[in-house]
């Protein structure tokens, strides 16, 4: 399939090796994630194959233990609001930048993207000092703001990407037909950039949902998030409850991935029909 029709036997062999190599890399990518999933169904607290027996006890612990439940709740709250802020501000900024007439737009863009680049420990320590001065440490708001900052670059990047294929004459057409700017935005621009906004929002959500370093520095026990709960668990002992939590998160991530893929297809279709 890979080798072109004019390939010699030696080339065909090369392609075979190539395919094998790639298979191994894919195995490397997903293997570790797949290996821990079955362990979460083990009836014994040891990480050995073959499984001594099947049980849902670790899931029971994950969903009914107060600490894990509280952590799940906290993560949801924080990720939800952080996503809201990041998506709102990020989309606006991407729209502004894409109009192509903002002075110093290159510099501004690099500043807006920098939260993705700056080592997260530096962000965490800086906010730990800075937020303490204004009483934001150990509050939901502090954690939400910090996570929103970390999520915005993704929104800016994805929305900008959808806007590069965006035909500006469409809004002009809407305006010339008498639509107010808001109506033009709502009925023309928004549907077109919606896939980008949504996938940016998903990335922002995942960023907050997975974030542990900032949470370690800024959150009090009352705001303990899921990753933080996992982190202290990994430090002490990897109980199978952590593998249950991990499995839950992997399935969650897989659902997000599928959403992204669907959005991408939709976006391509939309652009395809409009081109």
């Amino acid at each position: 399939m890979l080798a072109p029709s004019y390939a010699t036997p030696r080339e065909k062999f090369t392609y075979l090796v190539f395919a094998l190599y790639c298979t191994l890399v894919f195995l490397f990518l997903v293997g570790p994630i797949l290996v821990i999933m079955p362990l979460s169904f083990s009836s014994e607290p040891w990480f050995t194959y073959p499984l001594p027996g099947l049980s849902l006890r670790w899931y029971e612990d994950f969903f009914f233990n107060e600490r894990w439940r509280e952590a799940l709740y906290n993560s949801s709250i924080v990720a939800f609001f952080a996503t809201l802020i990041a998506t709102g501000l990020g989309t606006l900024a991407a729209l502004g930048l894409s109009r192509g007439n903002v002075p110093f737009s290159g510099l501004i863009l690099s500043i807006l993207i920098s939260p993705m680049i700056v080592p997260v420990v530096i962000v965490a320590v800086a906010m730990f000092f800075g937020f303490a001065a204004v009483g934001l440490n150990n509050t939901y708001l502090g954690l939400i703001l910090a996570h929103a900052i970390l999520g915005t670059p993704f929104v800016v990047i994805t929305v900008t990407a959808t806007l590069t294929g965006f035909d500006r004459s469409l809004t002009r057409a809407a305006a010339s037909l008498g639509a107010s700017p808001w109506t033009a935005f709502r009925t023309v621009t928004l549907p077109l950039i919606a896939p980008g906004v949504t996938s940016g929002a998903l990335f922002a959500f995942v960023t907050s949902w997975d974030e542990v370093v900032v949470a370690l520095f800024l959150a009090s026990p009352d705001q303990r998030t899921l990753p933080r709960q996992m982190f202290s668990g990994i430090r002490e002992q990897i109980s199978p409850t952590i593998t249950a939590a991990a499995t839950f998160l992997v399935i969650f991530a897989a659902l997000l991935m599928m959403t992204l893929e669907l959005l991408r297809r939709r976006s391509e279709r939309l652009r395809g029909t409009l081109a």
Binding site: A132, N138, T139, Y140, P221, D222, S232, R235, E236, Q237
Partner: protein
């Protein structure tokens, strides 16, 4: 403007979410060392306390980082209400002013506790010991002396030590033949510190570091190490609960106290005192020994302990023959410096 009102709305929402959580009102956050020890506190202190007073306990774990307490106090947002600290931290906390001085009159005076265990900024709760242990199922005729911990020829394999200078420097000196009563005197000199680090150097490549108290029994159980230093109660607990056959080497054990400390700036000092008073009752302290083999610091509690538990306590006469008592003043004075030196050494 719109943005501002948006943030305001959001913060209002976030705040209401905070208040909606079950732990916002009428609760105390108690921070301790996690694992089996915290579990014993939960059974003996937290649960009965909540049952009696209706005040909920939020549990938090740490690994004894005094800096986290100070950072919290300095930022003016104290979220931990009572903290289980070691003696050096109780001393340091008083010196540096991040712990609240204790009103001992609420506890029947300092005389109610084991002599020498009381601190201005901490009420003693237990006497524990740092020992080392091995798995008797894997080694038949096991190590006997503190020197054996450093003898990689006779006992090859990895050994786990706590990632702190505290204890390791003392063990290194005792393994070098420094008698227990001369250890701190020696450590006060530059040469003494050099000697201790030189000794640690000899096993550096064989060391696995642990930080949380729950790790040593696991490291032993998984065979990751042949011997490990540990807090004696954790080994006791692994034998009792997980049916392990770990043996404790009491030679050169390092005795220390854990104390309840109250950071400055707690919101409801009366409630915190209520908790600490509850945890310092003879009944509660005796109850705790059922779950973990630490000696109660309250004199009146000892009488209530069953004799078969007493023999496993670090203070039992046959266990304490060569014991070294931690010198909190030495550690209060030198902790920062030795910690810096130690962290540099570990990372090199």
């Amino acid at each position: 403007m719109q943005i501002k009102s948006l943030t305001m709305t959001l913060s209002a929402l976030a705040l209401s979410a905070a208040c909606g959580s079950a732990f916002a009102a009428d609760s105390l956050t108690i921070t301790s060392w996690g694992g089996a020890y915290q579990k014993s506190q939960e059974e003996a202190y937290y649960k009965p306390f909540t049952a009696k007073t209706g005040i909920k306990i939020t549990q938090e774990e740490y690994n004894g980082e005094a800096a986290r307490i100070r950072a919290m106090v300095e930022s003016g947002n104290t979220t931990w209400d009572a903290i289980d600290v070691d003696a050096a931290t109780a001393q340091q906390g008083c010196d540096e002013g991040f712990l609240t001085p204790i009103d001992y009159s609420k506890f029947g005076g300092k005389e109610a506790f084991v002599k020498g265990s009381t601190f201005d900024c901490g009420i003693p709760t237990i006497i524990y010991s740092t020992i080392y242990a091995y798995d008797a199922d894997k080694i038949k005729d096991g190590p006997k002396t503190i020197g054996d911990l450093f003898d990689t020829k006779k006992w090859p394999g990895k050994r786990a030590l706590q990632k702190t200078p505290f204890g390791n420097l003392e063990f290194a000196l005792m393994a070098e033949g420094v008698p227990a009563d001369k250890v701190y005197e020696t450590l006060k000199t530059k040469e003494g510190v050099e000697k201790a680090f030189k000794k640690l150097d000899t096993i550096k490549k064989d060391i696995v570091w642990w930080e949380a108290g729950a790790q040593p029994p696991q490291l032993l159980a998984s065979g990751e190490v042949v011997m490990t230093t540990a807090w004696n109660g954790r080994i006791f607990n692994a034998n009792k609960v997980d049916k392990k056959n770990f043996k404790i080497v009491w030679d050169g054990q390092l005795l220390d106290y854990d104390l309840w400390a109250i950071p400055k700036g707690v919101k409801d000092l009366d409630a915190v005192y209520k908790f600490v008073e509850f945890a310092s009752s003879p009944e509660a302290q005796a109850e705790q020994t059922k779950y973990i083999s630490y000696g109660p610091a309250l004199l009146a509690a000892t009488a209530k302990i069953a004799p078969d538990i007493l023999k496993d306590l670090p203070t039992a006469p046959e266990n304490a023959k060569t014991a070294l008592a931690n010198d909190p003043v030495f550690w209060g004075d030198n902790k920062e410096e030795l910690l810096k030196r130690f962290n540099t050494w570990v990372a090199q």
